[in-house]
């Protein structure tokens, strides 16, 4: 360790390698067999269970928990994968506290839901660790489908199409598949290269090939894909980022939180990653939380998250907020950035307090300066490079039904498509459902 949390500016190696390793280890260590049985035992096997309804992919949660309880985690995994082939990743990254576990009747009864996410991980890990792929591919149909984007939506779509016997070609702009699973999720939520391993495991179904470094609009075109394939699925996510529109945004030390997170996820050596002594994160979603928490875990001395509305309006869940607070992140609510101060290099962020009258937000005129040598922007992502001809709705590709776009033979799902929350699990559901629709149109 050459530096410390109080080393001025942006610097690497603020913490000992051992501390870094501990900080970025599994947030929830996996349940062992006994813990899984104890957790599974709490499930009431509810009828028409609220947890199933709350799951965007509709996993039969009571059934898989009962299968764990009766000593067949392999059968449990199959129950999960039938609905959600990325059940392993979702077990790690789903905001279960706002989905299945919030709906769990034991949450209502005792404020302590069944540990559905961790039980899902227990089951899926059992099968994935054994390297077993639980499904077989139907005979080749001779149909070929192009999938743009190897994120959760594209992977789920590709897998389901391959299962039905179609040949799938995935194109992804990045060097690795996985999308945000690989590049956009906090390090401690998916450790040990899980995202990469999951893609490899998923592709064992056969019939899927992946071309990396191929971006839509740059290396391939929608027109070209439509001409060459029987159907096209677009799941390229939101590659653009919103601008701060504050003066001084171009000063050194100002960066996009998504890039910060991606760099962290791809880092071979956490000690080599530079982070500010005083970090300010702007935004209120999961990306903001992940960037703030990880800045702190990398050894930043002070991390402040500035959000323009109040706590209740924050998109990040209470659980995520508490996690950030427990790591030492400071929250400033009802404040918006005005200007990045500094001379070439950012030294502070000038903010103005806000007030809200229902929908619109206005400044109160009262300002304050936050010292900062690193400012991370997490104020939302945008669709980047949409092909002509696709109808857009609310900044996303407009879809109806199971992901049908305005262009014949083209489906879309995941973050780039309209509707649904921008969650891994939602993307999986949309990809899967679009695949079923594509399949019906190809064989119908």
């Amino acid at each position: 360790m050459t530096n410390s949390p109080r080393t001025p500016g942006i610097a690497a190696a603020r913490l000992e390698a051992e501390t870094l390793a501990q900080n970025f280890s599994d947030l929830h260590p996996p349940l062992d067999g006994h813990e899984a049985l104890v957790a599974a035992d709490r499930c009431y096997f509810c009828h028409d269970a609220p947890c199933i309804t709350a799951c965007p992919t509709g996993i039969d949660i009571p059934l898989f928990i009962r299968q764990i309880a009766t000593g067949t985690p392999e059968a449990a995994a199959r129950t999960i994968f039938e609905q959600n082939i990325l059940g392993g990743m979702c077990a790690r990254v789903c905001p279960t506290e706002t989905l299945c576990e919030e709906a769990c009747v034991r949450e209502a009864a005792e404020g302590k839901p069944v540990l559905i996410g961790q039980l899902q991980r227990y089951a899926t890990d059992t099968v994935m660790a054994a390297g077993v792929h639980p499904f077989e591919r139907a005979p080749e149909t001779g149909k070929r489908v192009a999938v743009v984007g190897a994120g959760p939506a594209g992977l789920a779509c590709a897998h389901r199409l391959a299962m039905h016997g179609h040949a799938v070609e995935i194109f992804d702009a990045r060097p690795k598949g996985g999308g945000l699973n690989e590049y956009g999720i906090a390090y401690y939520k998916t450790t040990d290269g899980f995202a990469e391993a999951e893609v490899e495991w998923l592709m064992k179904i056969g019939g899927i090939t992946m071309q990396n470094g191929k971006a839509l609009g740059r290396d391939i075109t929608l027109e070209g894909l439509r001409a060459e394939y029987d159907a096209v699925f677009l799941g390229m996510g939101l590659a653009g980022v919103n601008a701060l529109r504050a003066e001084g945004e171009d000063r050194d030390g100002v960066a996009d939180a998504v890039d910060f997170i991606a760099n962290l996820r791809q880092a071979d050596n956490l000690a080599a990653l530079p982070v500010g002594r005083k970090v300010v994160v702007i935004g209120g979603g999961m990306t903001a939380i992940d960037a703030a928490v990880q800045s702190k875990l990398l050894g930043a001395d002070e991390v402040t998250l500035v959000y323009r509305r109040d706590r209740a309006a924050m998109p990040a869940s209470a659980y995520e907020q508490d996690l950030a607070a427990s790591k030492g992140v400071r929250f400033i609510f009802n404040a918006m950035p005005l200007e990045v101060l500094g001379n070439g290099v950012a030294t502070a962020l000038r903010c103005e307090y806000t007030k809200s009258d229902g929908r619109s937000l206005t400044g109160t005129g009262e300002t304050f300066d936050l010292e900062a040598d690193q400012i991370l922007k997490a104020i939302g992502q945008t669709l980047d490079g949409t092909p002509d001809g696709l109808a857009i709705e609310g900044g996303k590709i407009a879809v109806t039904g199971a992901g049908c776009t305005s262009v014949d033979g083209v489906w879309a799902g995941g973050d780039c498509a309209s509707g649904g929350e921008d969650l891994t699990v939602t993307a999986v559901a949309e990809g899967r459902d679009a695949a079923e629709d594509i399949h019906a149109s190809l064989v119908g």
Partner: protein, 434 residues
């Protein structure tokens, strides 16, 4: 996925999981739901003789025993046979069977112990197209007071007689359902066998009072301050049921007589255990009443996975454990084990110590800093410490290999098999050479 399709006494069903004759099978609506959920067959709730149907109490019919976290372990009921009209039931049975030809449809019957009564109802049941009948000789409450149910099941001569009538007046398979409220379960099974039964099913419910309200002094379930013994079922009765199944499976008089196993089957594992002990299939009631019909999905996936893992067919499983059920006198007295405590897994609760020190053989030591260790010189391998330990596999039993020193006896473990029949302490010991 293993093939779970089942052939029990010539009655085929897509899986060996049947719903027992009980409230879940009292009506067309329930049975259709059961078949849609995946159950392999049902035994329709017991039909009575033509005429005015029986009536039920209008207060609570069930009482329960709970484990930790209010897990239902035992259920007791004072419900009688169907309280719906005979012909309504018969029409429904016929309709459902016609719509689900691949599922097993068995009709449970209980009429007075008179030949005319059976002669009257059997052709009506035959006409439904059901696959077979089950004779309810088991219900311990209400009907037994009227000379039916368990009152018949407790008299082997009656069982034999009625079974003969059924074989005479009905052309399809006859299953005799046995009551456990009897000293020796082999006797009624033998009687059924003599009467020509195609199979026996067991157990029916056990006489029970689940609890007493200490304020009102009424047994539960309470009907206006009074209670009656009811029939006990659910996970709590499984060990009793499995013992009885195994007794019939290994009894020379009844060996080979098909058995439908009933009693606390809640998971695929319970079902597999019953089948290993000789049951050709199982019947389920309390688990369905507790969790709904959907549990059959876990039963199917679990049993299928187990059979695949073991490379067994369903038929291979049936009776596979029967040869290992024996009498105490034949257990190997030279099989020696010692308790072993995994210190890494131990959470230092001391329950093993309390159990052993207070109630067993003082074979566990406790140090100042709460380290618990087995004293081999005292350990008789009773297994109580294993049973009371809250951590699975923390305490295990280790077999001493032949030749190893047993610190308790001071003698090496003999490689020879030796049981009580030849033991020197046995006054009736038979010398091996004689």
């Amino acid at each position: 996925m293993a093939d779970l399709s089942s052939d029990f006494i010539g009655i085929s069903s897509p899986n060996p999981f049947w719903l027992a004759s009980a409230p879940p099978t009292d009506k067309e609506y329930n049975v259709r739901r059961a078949f849609e959920a995946g159950w392999g067959g049902v035994v329709w709730k017991t039909l009575g003789a033509e005429g005015l149907p029986v009536v039920n109490v209008n207060g609570p019919r069930y009482g329960a025993i709970y484990g930790a976290d209010r897990r239902l372990l035992g259920l007791n009921n004072i419900e009688l046979i169907t309280d719906r009209d005979l012909y309504t039931n018969l029409e429904e049975i016929k309709r459902v069977k016609a719509d689900y030809p691949d599922r097993a449809m068995i009709v449970s019957i209980m009429v007075p112990c008179e030949e005319a009564a059976w002669k009257a109802i059997l052709p009506l049941v035959e006409d439904t197209g059901a696959d077979g009948i089950e004779l309810n000789f088991g219900c311990p409450h209400g009907m037994s007071e009227r000379g039916m149910g368990a009152a018949v099941g407790q008299v082997p001569e009656y069982i034999e007689m009625v079974t003969r009538w059924c074989k005479q007046y009905y052309s399809r398979p006859v299953i005799v359902k046995l009551t456990p409220n009897i000293a020796d379960i082999r006797k009624p099974a033998e009687a059924a066998h003599r009467g020509g039964a195609d199979a026996v099913s067991l157990i029916n419910t056990i006489n029970s009072i689940t609890s007493v309200n200490l304020d009102t002094m009424s047994p539960e379930p309470s009907i206006g301050g009074k209670g009656s013994h009811g029939g006990y079922c659910g996970p709590a009765v499984k060990p009793i049921a499995m013992s009885m199944v195994s007794e019939i499976a290994r009894n020379a008089e009844t060996r080979g007589l098909p058995i439908s196993g009933i009693g606390g089957v809640t998971t695929w594992r319970d079902a597999a255990e019953f089948m290993a002990l000789g049951a050709g299939n199982v019947q389920v009631c309390t688990a369905a009443m507790t969790y709904g019909f959907k549990i059959v999905e876990e039963m199917m996936s679990g049993l299928s996975q187990y059979l695949d893992e073991k490379g067994m067919s369903l038929d291979d499983l049936v009776g596979r454990a029967v040869p290992n059920v024996t009498d105490w006198q034949y257990l190997d007295l030279n099989y020696v084990t010692k308790a072993r405590i995994d210190q890494d897994a131990c959470i230092k609760c001391g329950r093993c110590y309390a159990a052993c020190e207070d109630t067993s053989h003082q074979a566990i030591s406790m140090s100042e800093d709460r380290v618990f260790e087995v004293i081999d010189a005292e350990c008789v391998a009773c297994n109580l410490c294993v049973n009371v330990c809250p951590v699975e596999d923390c305490i295990t039993m280790e077999e001493l290999a032949p030749g190893a020193m047993d610190e308790r006896t001071g003698k090496p473990v003999s490689p020879e098999y030796a049981n009580w029949t030849t033991h020197p302490n046995n006054p009736g010991a038979v010398k091996a050479a004689e």
